[in-house]
Amino acid sequence: MDRLYISDWCAWCASETQCASPQQSISSPVGSSLPGLLRRRLDAAGRATCDILHALAPIDGCPLIHASRHGDVTHTLSMLESLAQGQPLSPARFSMSVHNAVLGVYSIAHQHRQPLQALGACGHEFDALLTEAEGYLDAGHASVVIVFSEGELPATYHGHTPHPGQACAVGLRLTRQANEHPRLTASPTATPGEPTPLEVIQWLAGNTPWLDGLQRLTLEAE
């Protein structure tokens, strides 16, 4: 990992007691960065993602990448249930049932015209976000904002898939410029993991010494 610095970050958790310090947290209720007619189409994690993007994106914009393992799974499940019962699908829900829907809403609300990318990576979302961000930085962009979120998991799925246990989201603005920002370094790990947004928040807040994904990530003061 070549010179990757975190110039800012912020987070949101549905249960705020488990989240980052107030300085690094998005204020509730989430969705204040969106007009009401767009806000209504997103769940809480999608709204928080937009607030985080708005807080971190520079005024003149930069590439934005959003990752989620499960996406808006509550609404996905309700559509599957409708199909199983032979009921017609809600057009509004169907229109939002793509992984890049949250970025689409953000880009409409804020007239964003730079690259947007949505990722799902079966547990390797944070690794994938960093890989893609480095690609944009190496292509000449001064900064990239990444957001990793999970929505609330419906009871039907409990015990069947890894999940942080609550809706949460975390965003980072990454750059190649040091400027006394913390530096991200990667080293091999013997215990690879599939970090959730909550684990990323705990690590960024300094509560855990490293973050194990496909590699072990650590933060160093420059």
Binding site: G36, R39, R40, S90, P91, A92, S95
Partner: protein, 90 residues
């Protein structure tokens, strides 16, 4: 026996708020004569499809999305009420 026009107007306002998830909007906020789309309430084309589905579920009214008169039926709450009063089967 069907409800009065006044009650139907209120029902349609509630239907729109509920089906379109218009948070922070109350029936009193919706002017029955004002346009629902564009400058008025600000609804979009996805909302039009959602309303079409809702009319079918609640009142058994099936509209042709391509027909020119569909646009007129969706002009305002009053236009919707006139449509439901003449075409409802439940």
């Amino acid at each position: 026996m069907h409800e009065t026009s006044q009650q139907l107007t209120l029902d349609l306002k509630r239907m729109i708020i509920e089906a379109l998830e218009l948070e922070d909007v109350t029936p009193d906020d919706i002017d029955a004569q004002a346009p629902l789309f564009g400058d008025g309430l600000g609804l979009d084309s996805i909302d039009a499809l959602e309303l079409g589905l809702e009319l079918q579920k609640r009142y058994g009214i099936k509209l042709d999305a391509e027909a020119e008169d569909t646009r007129q039926h969706f002009a305002s709450i009053d236009a919707l009420r006139a449509l439901v009063e003449t075409r409802r089967d439940r």
